[in-house]
């Protein structure tokens, strides 16, 4: 599909996401609703990956670039941040380790349980 149409499709879905977000009684980000909408459109086959491939690749491959201005905004908060910089860095370190351990352990446990269930099923047969 033509790039301009791909841009139109993706921005249209984002706009729909913003609209739904405004209607919802709970604070749910419009961009995440747009992501779910796009996923459902792809699942249903109404939209094929090649319909939005080039524009998506452009966005996905340059993802980090779009966060630069948001990150630069940190200089506005530098006075709030400096006194609490060490605790913040410490929190980042500890939570990263805990989150890794929790998710990896749980995934490992579930895989283990599934394999066990599969082998007992075989024995029953």
């Amino acid at each position: 599909m033509k790039i301009i149409v791909q841009i139109g499709v993706i921005l249209g879905i984002c706009l729909a996401g913003e609209g739904i977000s405004l209607l919802l009684p709970i604070p749910f980000p419009g961009s995440v609703i747009a992501m779910i909408l796009l996923f459902l459109l792809l699942l249903s086959g109404l939209l094929r990956p090649d319909h939005i491939r080039q524009k998506s690749d452009f966005l996905l491959q340059n993802m980090a670039f779009f966060f630069i201005p948001a990150g630069v905004g940190i200089i506005e908060h530098i006075e709030t941040l400096l006194p609490v910089l060490l605790p913040l860095l410490f929190i980042c370190l500890v939570t990263t380790i805990l989150t890794f351990a929790a998710s990896a352990f749980t995934a490992k446990l579930v895989i283990h349980l599934q394999e066990k269930a599969a082998s007992t099923n075989k024995e029953v047969e």
Partner: protein
């Protein structure tokens, strides 16, 4: 000087120049500390400070770039969709792992912020720090957090994940490639995923999927955060 820097083109050109320099340095030095986003942010802050350019002038162009954040989040759907077969195959381990990781991340970040006596704006900024930047920013914004602090915490977390994950895999005896990928993607999003891709194809795919899955789970869980 003021008239040229207040052009929207100034911010956009500055972002592209510094980011490309960051990408180049990252390729040359091959270390996760040389994160292109981190380099670009640091260089731009330095330029603004040295030449005494007001932040508002930079943001005229910066706001145009930020406009792409929503579409960039939406197209994460395509990257999940292209991994659909792998996701179906390992659906339960991925879902449970992402759920456990997201709960622990929110509780530990929130709990530690309260323990250190940080205010609500900082706590709200830190709570979504393990998920991918666009989703974390939205959660932070909706709970009254300092969005720029969230961006910095997310990047730092990603870098930590990329550096520490091989070590954590050994310490915690995570011997299954699927579990390794889920752990990396849930704890350190896309930056960590670059490391997962190096570890192996399954790790990379699982880590990539976990970014989206734990992102959505964290959005849902954060609805219950009393801030």
């Amino acid at each position: 000087m003021d008239s040229i820097t207040s052009s929207p083109l100034f911010g956009i050109v500055l972002c592209i120049l510094t980011f490309e320099l960051g990408v180049w340095l990252n390729k040359k030095l091959k270390t996760p500390i040389c994160n292109p986003l981190l380099i670009a942010i640091a260089l731009i802050i330095a330029v603004l400070q040295i030449f005494k350019i007001p932040l508002e002038n930079f943001m005229v162009g910066g706001d145009i770039i930020s406009l792409f954040l929503a579409p960039a989040t939406a197209v994460l759907a395509l990257s999940i969709y292209s991994q659909l077969a792998v996701l179906k195959k390992h659906f339960l381990p991925v879902l449970c792992g992402c759920l456990a990781g997201s709960v622990v991340s929110i509780l530990s970040a929130g709990g530690l912020c309260i323990a250190f006596g940080l205010d609500d704006a900082l706590t709200a900024a830190m709570i979504p720090k393990s998920v991918t930047t666009p989703i974390a920013m939205e959660i932070s914004k909706q709970h009254g957090g300092l969005v720029a602090v969230t961006v910095a915490a997310v990047i730092f977390t990603g870098i930590l994940g990329a550096i520490l994950s091989p070590l954590l895999i050994r310490i915690f005896h995570i011997d299954h490639p699927v579990a390794q990928g889920v752990g990396i993607g849930t704890s350190s999003h896309a930056v960590g995923t670059t490391k997962a891709v190096e570890l192996g194809e399954i790790q990379g795919a699982m880590s990539g999927i976990s970014i989206g899955v734990s992102g959505i789970i964290t959005v849902l869980l954060s609805l219950f955060v009393p801030l």
